[in-house]
């Protein structure tokens, strides 16, 4: 038979023995449980505060609190504040440096833009000058070409006229001789010349 023996050790303590043998407990409890009565040991209340615990704990706390208030915390906090102040001032310095750098960049960009505008203006002026010069040179060249062309045309015309006269004279002479040989009398040179000139004109035109 399984039994459980409970023995009170006093002041909340107890001992439970589970056994498969018969219990040796003096006072059996309901069911399989037997309870052995042991006189209660007297002791201090587990809840009530003890005077010496109060004194030691209070003393330790008060010393800690005073040291913290007067020495430990102010020193630590002073260091923290100094570091935070330095970080804040470093941030402000970095911020002002960045602002100065940004203003310099803006200034540079504005100068660059004005230089670019000036360069573009100069390029435009140069381009216009070049264009004007080019136009003038082209006109001058065209004029020279026209003069030379006119001279060449005149020269060609003169040469053609001279050649025609020479040809007409030669053809007239040949025609006079041929007519003379054929008819036995010399034709009027003016008439031959006129006929040759008409024949050549019509031949050239046709």
């Amino acid at each position: 038979m399984h039994t459980a023996t409970v023995a009170h050790l006093g002041a909340g303590g107890f001992r439970v023995v589970f056994s498969a043998e018969e219990s040796t407990a003096t006072v059996p409890a309901p069911g399989n449980t037997a309870e052995a009565a042991v006189p209660e040991k007297s002791g201090p209340s587990p809840i009530a505060p003890e005077k010496y615990e109060l004194i030691w704990a209070l003393g330790a706390f008060v010393v800690f609190a005073l040291l913290m208030r007067l020495f430990l915390f102010p020193r630590l906090k002073k260091g923290m504040n100094a570091r935070y102040g330095k970080i804040r001032s470093d941030h402000e310095t970095a911020e002002s440096t960045r602002a100065a750098a940004e203003s310099e960049v803006a200034e540079y960009q504005s100068a660059l833009a004005s230089v670019k505008a000036e360069a573009a203006g100069r390029i435009d002026v140069a381009r216009q000058t070049l264009e004007t010069e080019r136009t003038a040179r082209i006109a001058e060249a065209n004029a020279r070409i026209a003069v030379r062309k006119a001279a060449a045309v005149a020269e060609t015309d003169a040469a053609m006229a001279a050649a025609r006269q020479s040809i007409e004279a030669a053809v007239g002479s040949v025609a006079e001789r041929a007519t003379e040989l054929t008819l036995g009398k010399r034709p009027d040179p003016a008439t031959v010349q006129r006929a040759v000139a008409e024949a050549m004109r019509s031949g050239v035109n046709s």
Binding site: G12, Y52, G59, R75
Partner: protein
């Protein structure tokens, strides 16, 4: 046979005196103060202008935690002067809670009533002192006769406010801390004793010893949980102190 012996409560929550009138609670309280002082002393000696690390980082984190999470939330900027006191309170309570899971010590000093009680009394004195300092006798008026309540209701509200503000608060502070830490300690003791009893039981029940894993698992889990409970109880005690001081300073809120 399987025997489980739970020792008397005084053996669980007390220790033999080192010498007359100096027991485990005194040792833990003195150690807590000593560790706290040492940590902040070392932290204060480190170069404050370089990025904090190690002990200084811990100390500064504690200061910022108290300032940002407690003082600014409960009292406001004009309460920053209370940071050293609240920091001391938090660190002291936490360091008194922590030995509950530290081998050899294995007992939170706050699981005895002395520590929570005197700290609650100090807090009670401080917040009432702050109230009288800032508002004189008007503090009593604003505490006992909250504005905006119909006059007839004062018959009911005033006694409740008196009991709540001047009597119950210190007890609730003390008992909350004491009971939580004692309960945690008792749970750890229970599972430790159960693990021991199951592991060394003289029995033919072959499944009993492998089953020891269950109370051992609970013991490990509760030990981890006690780290959180220790921190949480220190935080609750400190933030409630901040709330009480804030209410005494700005009763209209």
């Amino acid at each position: 046979m399987f025997a489980l012996e739970f020792p008397p409560i005084n053996e669980v929550i007390r220790w033999k005196d080192v010498f007359s009138s100096f027991n485990k609670v005194g040792i833990i309280a003195c150690l807590a103060a000593l560790i706290g002082v040492t940590v902040f002393l070392i932290a204060g000696r480190k170069d404050p202008m370089v990025a904090p690390k190690g002990v200084r980082n811990v100390a500064e984190t504690g200061v910022e935690f108290i300032e940002n999470q407690i003082v600014m939330q409960t009292i406001g900027e004009d309460g920053l002067g209370w940071t050293p006191f609240l920091l001391t309170l938090f660190v002291f309570i936490y360091l008194c809670n922590l030995p509950g899971i530290i081998p050899i010590l294995q007992f939170p000093a706050t699981a005895r009533m002395a520590l929570p009680l005197f700290m609650s009394v100090i807090v009670w004195l401080i917040y009432n002192g702050v109230g009288f300092k800032h508002h004189g006798l008007g503090y009593l008026k604003s505490s006992l006769f909250p504005p905006g309540v119909p006059k007839a209701m004062y018959l009911l509200v005033t006694p409740i406010e008196f009991i709540s503000t001047f009597i119950v608060r210190p007890f609730s502070l003390a008992i909350r801390l004491f009971a939580n830490m004692l309960a945690g300690h008792m749970l750890l003791v229970t599972f430790a004793l159960l693990s021991n009893a199951m592991l060394f039981a003289e029995t033919k029940q072959y499944m009993l010893k492998p089953m020891t894993i269950l109370p051992v698992f609970m013991l490990v889990f509760l030990t981890t949980f006690e780290v959180l409970v220790g921190f949480l109880q220190a935080f609750i005690f400190t933030i409630l102190t901040g709330v009480y001081i804030g209410q005494a300073k700005h009763p209209a809120h």
